[in-house]
């Protein structure tokens, strides 16, 4: 009966505090079955989320980050300590040692952080939940002195193992208590980074084996798998549904998308077509909204478009969700302010183009399927693609080399994942 009462609590903080009431309460609240019921009850939870901006994409002693957290009304609040720069991660023991460090990936409320003991010949990876301050360290991976560029994929795949698992699968995974994960390091080809590559060298860590493994990935269609080429590099490697996705480029055009599913096949890639109406010569951004892969394309002084992948079969079925033309957009005071700052009259089409060139995609709003966050010069704007309204969220002028969106689910993701054979709960 205790479980029936406790999972109806409105927020996870209280429930976790109550772990200290008695041993029985601790046992109930820590049980994965409780977490599953709690998350099911809160399935319409409006997630809090945080943007993490980092000034580097590689290991650096001078890494610093800026955090912007959003409340339920999309009002931002900042957490930024210029004295240390990574104070938000200071629960990681390695940070007090001032080694070079770099956040390399994120998934929901988890971050993947890389560090290197100076003069040592290996990298160390940490998976951490910066909200609960729990972390785990992966076994070290030897560096290869020559190659420094990598693209990182961090994959989490929730496991379901309860008796009514069929029900869960229909409704979608609703618990984060058990999951397996992989860290995939895609190594930059030694030669010219813009070269056509039909094979990739990758290093994969799997939580199931608890070790790193080298693998060579190829594609039966002899596609160009190189994610370091300009258009592909811009969009990056995106984890969605336990698979990695990146742009497949050919002759400076988007040919399609590579899908790498190492949980099922760590040596072969799949392929999906681009949407029919995608402009193949313009850059795209990839992202995830509610566990679906999305493409965002900005065509300067033209339009914003948004597609969502509905189905992986038959080389992919895309659906265009939104398209809005600049001429139909309400830029609010964006143009006026730009005019004030730069002294240019942006009602002129050519100068408008210059302004749009500064716009880059930041993230899909985790709670609103119609909205995207954009970087526009000095500010971050929230653009609703359905209404065409652009709203300034805040000013931000520090250099951003990499960015992550942390989304907090209704129950914090445990690090490490809870063991599958936890004792069953007595009611």
């Amino acid at each position: 009966m205790l479980l029936e009462i406790l999972y109806r609590l409105p927020c996870c903080r209280r429930a976790v505090q109550f772990k200290s009431v008695s041993k029985r309460w601790l046992s109930v609240i820590s049980n994965p079955y409780f977490i599953r019921r709690f998350m099911d009850r809160h399935r319409h939870y409006v997630c809090k989320f945080t943007h993490v901006f980092q000034n580097t994409i590689e290991l650096n002693v001078n890494t610093y980050i800026r955090l912007v957290s959003y409340d339920h009304n999309d009002n931002p609040s900042f957490k930024f300590d210029p004295r240390i720069g990574l104070e938000f991660l200071d629960f990681l023991p390695v940070l007090s040692l001032h080694y070079p460090v770099c956040i390399q990936a994120s998934f929901n409320d988890l971050l993947l952080v890389c560090t290197q003991v100076p003069k040592a010949s290996f990298f160390e990876y940490y998976i951490c939940n910066p909200f609960t301050k729990h972390w785990l360290k992966l076994p070290p991976i030897p560096t290869d002195g020559t190659r420094t560029r990598v693209m990182i994929g961090f994959l989490c795949d929730p496991c379901i193992c309860d008796s009514d698992s069929d029900n869960d699968r229909e409704q979608g995974c609703i618990t984060n208590a058990h999951y397996r994960f992989m860290v995939v390091r895609i190594l930059c080809p030694e030669e010219n980074t813009t070269q056509f590559q039909t094979q990739l060298q990758v290093q994969i860590f799997s939580s199931e084996t608890n070790e790193w493994r080298n693998s060579v990935v190829s594609s039966p269609r002899k596609l160009n798998l190189n994610p370091f080429m300009p258009i592909a590099c811009y969009a990056g490697v995106i984890a969605c549904n336990g698979m990695l996705h990146w742009v497949c480029v050919k002759d400076k055009e988007i040919k399609g998308f590579v899908v790498f599913d190492p949980f099922n096949d760590s040596e072969q890639c799949h392929y999906i077509h681009p949407p029919i109406d995608l402009s193949l010569r313009h850059y795209v951004s990839l992202g995830v909204f509610r566990r679906r892969l999305r493409i965002f394309q900005l065509i300067y002084a033209g339009s914003f478009s948004l597609w969502e992948l509905e189905d992986y079969s038959n080389a992919g079925t895309w659906c265009m969700k939104q398209k809005v033309y600049f001429s139909n957009m309400d830029f609010g005071d964006f143009l006026q302010r730009a005019k004030n700052i730069h002294g240019l009259d942006y009602s002129d089409e050519r100068t408008k183009m210059m302004l749009y060139r500064d716009m880059t995609f930041l993230a899909f709003h985790p709670n609103d399927g119609d909205s995207v966050f954009l970087h526009c010069g000095n500010s971050v704007q929230l653009c609703n693609l359905r209404t065409g309204v652009l709203k300034r969220v805040y000013y931000y002028s520090s250099p951003v080399r990499s960015k992550f969106q942390l989304v907090q689910p209704s129950w914090p993701t445990p690090v490490p994942p809870l063991p599958l054979n936890a004792p069953s709960i007595s009611n």
Partner: protein, 238 residues
Amino acid sequence: MSSVKKVTLKSSDGEIFEVEETVAMESQTIKGLIEDDCADNAIPLPNVTGHILSLVIQYCKEHTSSSDSNSSKSNEKLKAWDTQFINVDLNVLFDLIMAANYLNVKGLLDLTCQTVADMIKEKTPEQIRAMFNIVNDFTPEEEEEVRRENAWAFEISLKNNNVVDTFEVEESMAKELQTIKNMIEDNYTDSVIPLHNVTSDILELVIEDCKKHVEAAESESEPSYSLASKLIDDPLKA
């Protein structure tokens, strides 16, 4: 002319209740027995006392007639009735939960459990133990370990509105400030509390002061109210 079918229910203490079959079928347990043709005589319910059973029957009556197409009960009226119905002593509430679970009356289980959840959501672990007469079976070290491992849940961030300093403080200390206590108890599910009128320096002083008060209270000595804290508390109350 058809008479309404009735079933007979017998509580653990021997009380007999005659209810319409449709009302009794709100209980999935009883419904199962009726459908399996085991309900010719009185259905014994050894886990439910007469008092509780009468309450359950009241609930079922109210909720059966509402699903009737002839009934004009609106959702609001039903909710109001529920609120009044559930306004009972804590022990009765627990008995109702057990009965609703045993009899498998989903709506009643939801109502009773949610009521208890709402009662405890603002309480500290200490208050919970007092309320439910739970013995703290942790050793001090064990309890400390639980709190330490889950420190994030016990802390509140006080944030200065203009600048970006945040202070992580123990919730018990933050509650020393009446304003913050009210914000916490107003079901502030965010763990970041913005304080508009206070600069970081003052906030630091106030937190230091709160710490002293909490420590003093724990050592059961008379807390001494410093003049500074009185002055500072006032703008916060504004």
